[in-house]
Assembly symmetry: C2
Homo-oligomer: 206 residues x 2
DNA sequence: GTAGGTCTTGACCATACGGTCAGGAAAAGA
DNA sequence: TCTTTTCCTGACCGTATGGTCAAGACCTAC
């Protein structure tokens, strides 16, 4: 259920194959969900046989958990970077920008995460109730301070953060729908960037 | 793959059992995804045996498709109701309100839909590229008109609609995360209602 | 009541899937 | 080179799952 905590030494082959497996698993899990994915599919996408995959990871569960574990930090970093000492509107717009960039550059990771939460986060509950919640509370306090100082408009800070998650992740998770509705000749992420900048500038103007 | 178009006569038992199956299937599919759900689970939740379930529906696929088919209209109705003749801000806020009510009252339907889009909408592509796209274009034209008449601020209309989808559906699809971060003693949907009203009022003020 | 249709089920089937294992191929070390 | 360790695979196993079927229970109309 858990990878060895000790960073056991890894040969070049180990490193290469473990990476190939995780890359392939990301592709398959994010587009098929945990139960929808098969070890066969993952192994093939990684250019290995199924037993060989199971030589590097003891079970399907562990592959999935490893992927999720590596994800959260990347996902939270943009929020961590929001600096209480900076200019409020710039800091928030910067956060929106960085989060949208993640959606554009790592849509599979976003969908993997979405899949997990949709199913009730059976494998991430602890992390969400711990690390994630703590970070949100910390940053909500920063936002509240800015509001009290009259530097941005007053809105419920936690829901402000939710709105940023919802709006940015939508473009990764619902990519198919977004592109279908927009039709050809659009750059969803560029347009989203412009739209979201306007939206938050207007919302936050004191 | 498709239900009989003819509304064939149904006995009371047929009606009751088909309904029980669809209700149970909604519960299971929305929380486990298509492949994660088993006929056994659905049958049990419906109070039937597996072969009996298969007496009413020829396959798992058909149960799922039937569910999806019945969904889209409910999902699109709030947008359809947005009236070009009404007051712009009121109409848009009314749409947001109705969509948020759907998220609150039919979260399972929202998650079923989200699951489907996440996997690339293999069973809904046609409908999204047809009906959904057409409706969005129609309403985007209404919004654009309102902008040209100076009755609401100028923003990209289609992305405005996307933002409403993203923000309202987030509270259904990511319910688990929202509640975990908010902690006890919160009413996510009530708070979301207040937040979204403020957000769109400020965004749209001419 | 009873004949004819509707509904229900236990037993069964084929396949897919996660996972194991014994042994061979390939590297790495001596 | 020879030995040891790491890597890889074909064949296999047990279980879960979607789906079938023959036969019986239950309704309902006459």
């Amino acid at each position: 259920m858990q990878d060895t905590p000790m960073p056991l030494p890894r040969s070049r082959i180990q490193t290469r194959n473990r990476e190939a497996i995780l890359e392939a698993a990301l592709e398959v899990f994010s587009s098929q969900g945990f139960r929808g994915a098969t070890l066969e599919q993952i192994a093939e996408a990684a250019g290995l046989s199924k037993p060989n995959l199971l030589y590097y990871f003891p079970s399907k569960e562990v592959v999935h958990s490893t992927l999720l574990a590596g994800l959260l930090d990347t996902w939270l970093d943009p929020l961590r970077e929001m600096d209480a000492a900076g200019d409020p509107v710039e800091e928030i717009l910067g956060y929106v920008r960085r989060k949208l960039d993640l959606s554009r550059d790592f849509p599979r990771e976003s969908r993997l995460f979405a899949n997990e939460i949709l199913q009730g986060a059976p494998r991430m509950r602890a992390v969400i109730e711990g690390e994630l919640k703590a970070l949100v509370e910390e940053k909500a306090a920063v936002l509240r301070r800015w509001m009290e100082d009259g530097r941005i408009a007053r809105v419920e800070p936690v829901h402000l953060i939710f709105s940023i998650w919802a709006l940015t992740q939508h473009y990764a998770d619902f990519d198919m729908q977004v592109r279908a509705v927009l039709g050809e000749g659009h750059d969803p992420f560029a347009e989203a960037g412009a739209f979201l900048t306007t939206l938050y500038a207007r919302l936050l103007r004191p």
